[in-house]
């Protein structure tokens, strides 16, 4: 019943987080709807024009890379720190001025920005990956054992 933390534990969480970030980043980078959606969402916080466009490319690339790294379990702690900071920023922004309206009906996962409860849950998951590592079937695990 009472088992200690083991290398299998982070695997499901890492895969879900990895798949979610990859999907969210992919849409921002490689689909017009996903890219525009995030540009419009940034407008909710007063970020518009070129800056919004650049930020969308940057966040999309970061999410896509983070997702892939989480999926293969490489540099999981670094990814967790970077995305945790990003999530904390989102949580603060959501507390200050609420959620933006979706663009062109794209108000669903993985287009839409996470709401507050979902953001807190993401933060919890990232902290668990940070403290617990990538676990089995990961590049980090292979590097550790080699």
């Amino acid at each position: 019943m009472f088992r200690k933390w083991n290398d299998w534990a982070p695997v499901p969480l890492r895969l879900v987080l990895g798949a979610s970030y990859t999907a969210a980043g992919f849409l921002k980078l490689f689909t017009n709807g996903g890219h525009m959606n995030f540009v419009v969402e940034l407008g909710h916080w007063g970020v518009t024009g070129t800056l919004a466009d650049v930020l969308t490319w940057f966040v999309g690339a970061l999410e896509f890379a983070s997702g892939l790294l989480l999926l293969v379990g490489a540099f999981a702690a670094v990814v967790a720190i970077v995305q945790a900071l990003s999530t904390i920023t989102l949580i603060i922004a959501l507390y200050i001025s609420g959620s933006p309206a979706p663009y062109d009906g794209l108000g669903y996962f993985p287009y839409v920005l996470p709401d507050l409860p979902y953001s807190w849950a993401i933060l919890a998951g990232l902290l668990t990956v940070l403290f617990g590592g990538a676990g089995k079937f990961s590049v980090d695990d292979l590097r550790k054992s080699s």
Binding site: N6, D7, W8, P10, L13, L17, S20, T128, F131
Partner: protein
């Protein structure tokens, strides 16, 4: 990654997921509008019987979240919530409106958290995180981690390979002769084992060839304990490859898991005490005793004594502030409450246990515990009979401070259900009825366990206690007369008068008591009475101890 049981990794998951589930579960269960909303949403998802299912969904979320938050039975709480969230997920997928829809919005006019259902992405994250909790456990700051600091029994029952018994006995003798420095298993080096015994069971206790029982008590995780045990056993292979099923030191944990038999009932005199803590308290007490034994100190204590000094000190210090006194009073409240509850509930509980244990017994004929009736001649005869019995069954009281008992009795198949009833009720007495170090006012028991062997064919009683076996049985006869009757009246040939039929009872016990090949105690000179006293003496001294301040105070003297 932390390999310790108190890993911090699952803590954020537990706290945040737990809080989320409690907050979303509360309105489903305890508010009318919240309940109507979940019934509406389940109906929209086309889940059958939404009115009934809504209570289950709300209970799983609220109580499961609470358990997750506190770290109690987290695997069960997580599994049930995966089932609940996964169910919603599947019904939403089957609506045919994936990915943009499927999850119903809250019932108007409700809107937003906590009335919304988690959508696809959030649901996947919740299920992934909960699966992580199932695999990784509760981690630090949890009831589970607190409980793991307590003591456990490990009882391995393994069959000895044919023709290996003589070699095994030679090894066990070497271990018993020098438990700390032998070349096989050095119990003292692991620092976790409180007590250990190894007993070889012969044909009469075994259906096919001799078996080995290895019973120990320890604190913490089984994995950590097995690691420590293996680390302190240079000859691990030499001992255990005499048993069937053992492959190598690398597979020792798997071997332990496979051949461990759980305790049906267990009692620890001091469940949260570690070996280190017991030894430290004893060392402190001994130092204090040595100091007090100095001639000048004892002279001073007699005349003028410490009273004048304490009077002066209290006049100078005055009384502590009311807030401190309130804190002291409040901190003593839980134990006072427990003691009051015990005084109310324990006597009727023991009456029930005694009545249950007495069913089918002949207490009318054998009504007295001491059947000598106080007659000195009869008492002398009784003592002589006991001595003869001990000689017959080779009962050696060569462990002056501590001893063990390994009793193997065959269970009557028709009484197996009754035995399990006794086992199920036993924690009421062993865990809740008495304070630490005391069970039915017996202050000599360090720990004991009942272990059901061979699918209910045999019942093993494994105890570690202070003093001789004779004194131990005397304690049972004086104070725990209902104890063994309740269990052993389900076994073959148990005297019809039970423990009241003293001679026959003692003979029955001796016949089934198996001498250990190895007996080890981490603190052989420390009795239960010692630990009780050590806690009283050392506890107040160590409370709020500030080494730097004390050093400064001593320098100023």
């Amino acid at each position: 990654m932390s390999d310790k049981g108190n890993s911090i990794a699952p803590v954020p998951l537990r706290l945040i997921f737990g809080a989320y589930l409690v907050i979303t579960g509360y309105p489903k269960l305890f508010t009318s509008i919240g309940h109507q909303n979940i019934v509406y949403q389940l109906g929209q998802l086309k889940i059958p019987l939404p009115e009934v299912v809504s209570w289950g969904v709300g209970s799983i979320a609220f109580f499961g979240g609470l358990l997750l938050f506190l770290g109690i039975f987290v695997q069960w709480a997580a599994a049930l919530n995966i089932f609940s969230i996964g169910g919603h997920f599947l019904f939403a997928l089957m609506s045919g409106r994936f990915p943009s829809g499927g999850y119903p919005a809250p019932m108007p006019p409700l809107n937003g958290f906590p009335y919304t259902m988690p959508e696809y992405g959030f649901s996947l994250l919740l299920m992934g995180g909960l699966a992580t909790v199932i695999l990784g456990g509760a981690g630090a700051c949890s009831y589970a981690s607190w409980r793991l600091r307590r003591q456990f029994f490990m009882t391995i029952v393994a069959r000895i390979k044919p023709a290996e018994e003589p070699a095994l006995r030679t090894i066990l003798k070497a271990i018993n002769d020098d438990p700390l420095n032998n070349r096989y298993m050095q119990f003292g080096r692991d620092g976790i084992t409180h007590f250990a015994r190894i007993v070889i069971l012969q044909e009469q206790d075994s259906d096919r060839g001799p078996r080995l029982i290895f019973a120990t008590s320890y604190n913490g995780y089984l994995e950590d304990y097995v690691d420590a045990l293996a680390g302190a056993s240079p000859g691990l292979d030499e001992v255990w490859n005499k048993c069937e099923g053992y492959s190598s030191a690398d597979g020792f944990l798997a071997f332990v898991r496979k051949y461990s038999v759980p305790s049906a009932v267990q009692y620890f005199g001091f469940p949260s005490a570690t070996v280190e803590k017991v030894r430290l308290m004893a060392a402190l007490r001994r130092r204090l005793e040595r100091f007090l034994d100095l001639p000048d100190v004892s002279g001073f204590l007699m005349h003028p004594g410490v009273k004048p000094f304490l009077d002066l000190l209290s006049r100078f210090a005055g009384s502590p502030p009311w807030i401190y006194r309130l804190w002291v009073w409040l901190s003593g409240l839980p134990s006072a409450l427990v003691a009051a509850l015990r005084s109310v509930f324990v006597p009727p509980l023991l009456d029930v246990v005694q009545a249950f244990g007495g069913i089918g017994m002949n207490y009318t004929t054998f009504s007295r515990v001491d059947n000598t009736g106080g007659d000195p001649t009869a008492q002398l005869q009784y003592v002589a009979q006991r001595q003869a019995l001990e000689d017959t069954y080779n009962i050696k009281d060569d462990q002056p401070k501590q001893n063990q008992m390994t009793l193997i009795a065959e269970v009557r198949p028709t009484r197996l259900l009754r035995l399990w009833l006794a086992i199920l009720a036993a924690p009421l007495v062993t865990v809740f009825a008495y304070p630490p170090g005391n069970i039915a006012n017996v202050h000599t028991l360090h720990s004991f366990a009942f272990v059901v062997l061979d699918g209910g064919k045999r019942l093993a009683f494994l105890a570690f206690f202070d003093g001789s076996l004779e004194n131990y049985l005397g304690d049972f006869l004086d104070k725990l007369i209902w104890g063994l009757d309740t269990f052993y009246n389900n076994c073959y040939d148990y005297p019809e008068g039970g423990m009241r039929q003293v001679d026959t009872f003692v003979k029955w016990i001796y016949e089934r008591n198996r001498a250990p090949s190895v007996f080890y105690s981490a603190y052989p000179e420390v009795t239960v009475e010692h630990i009780l006293r050590d806690q009283q003496v050392v506890g107040p001294l160590a409370a709020h101890f500030d080494r730097k301040a004390v050093d400064g105070w001593l320098r100023a003297l």
